[in-house]
Amino acid sequence: MKLALDEYAHINSPIHRWETRSKLIGLITLIFAFAFVKTLHLLPAMLLVTALLYVASRLPLSFLLMRLRYPGYFLLGVVLLLPFLSGETVVWQWGALTLRQEGILATILITCRFLSIVTIGFILIGTTPILKLINAMRSLGLPPLLADMMLLSYRYLFEIANDLATMQQGMRLRGFRSQSRKGLFIPNGQELRRLASLTGTLLVRSYEQSERVYKAMKLRGYGAHSQPLLQSTAAFHLRWEREAGSVIALLLMLLVASGFVIAEVV
């Protein structure tokens, strides 16, 4: 499991230089505008905007392909099922297997929408350090409790993943392996109990660590004035002279996004 997000967050590109708050608003608006798209002739435009943004972000293609591997399974499911199940107009038939027009169109729509939205999402994540992102969300009104929780859980994600890997290795070294092949569809009770203990140990370890973390944080003054970890930066105002590019990019995104929504409604 590859957890690190910030791998390419420090390249220099127009999208990387884009100020975080306006980038967040701009790209999220665009994502939602894409979710509105239902007509097929808007799809090429949608894919084009996505591709242009990806090229502008200078993220390597391998970044996207690696991250698309997991959601790709879902896509495969849609492509394999929908054209055969959904719709009435039969395009092609072979025995019980029928290819239906409505299903094919729905598949194309879902696939394109999915790819565009996911890619824009990864552009947002790939070009912004996670701390900046949480800070931006905080200054846009994310409750402090959520921001603190996000920050802390992201911080400990890696350690807990290591914990689990170590424990699983330990289990294997002591001879645990998935063996039951006899009872089809019935999980082995003993195995289930061991995995429950494994999960439980993981939770107990995290809990005990959290108590140490809390004490350390309290010693440094956390919670004294119910102050959150991240101070919200001053209200959302951008300085024109320094951030002109960011504002223009934001306006451009809002324009493109409303273009898609208007084209869809009209």
Binding site: A33, S153, Y156, L157, A196, L203
Partner: protein
Amino acid sequence: MHIPDGILPAQVCIGGYAVTGLATWYSLRHINRKKDPTADIPKASLLTAAFFIASSIHIPIPPASVHLVLNGLLGTVLGYYAFPAILIGLVFQAIILGHGGLTTLGVNAAMMGIPALVAYHIFQLRDRFGRRLNDRWFVGIFSFLAGAVGLGLAAIVFFILVITTIPSGFDVDVERAAIIGLSLAHIPLMLIEGTFTALLALFLLRVKPALLNIKSEG
């Protein structure tokens, strides 16, 4: 059990965000009523991370394997922190693994988080049955129910959303039959999730009752 981007129409996504916003507000209101709301933040955060990692553990069911949702367990362990925890866990699953999605974040959080709150209340119900709080049977039975109901509710919402919104030529009756059929097919998974939750709750009761908000015996 995650709805990915691109499947649901924007209206449903926005509706999901509205419901999630409401549920978050409700949870935060309960959390802020505590004497020191920040005291439990590290615990909730680390357990959020632990649940995120734990959901990658596969349970072998020959010939395949499933991975658990654990939302019922989250509810029993974290109480009202379960909703923010699930919301954050889903954000990370969406941005790190590409599992779920950003537009469907609201829908997914509501789908798994509200059943987690229900599971929490189910687990708390055992207080009504006599005073022997630490009775292993009560903990076992109610955590089983919490786990099973948590997953079951999420599965029902999932199928209703996916089947009614995917553009298809099916009529209403076929869709309803599909929803009922697929939900029934999830009963074995509910049993497994419930059993796993119960085993885990009993483990925690033995090893670290504080995690279940139960004072340790003696």
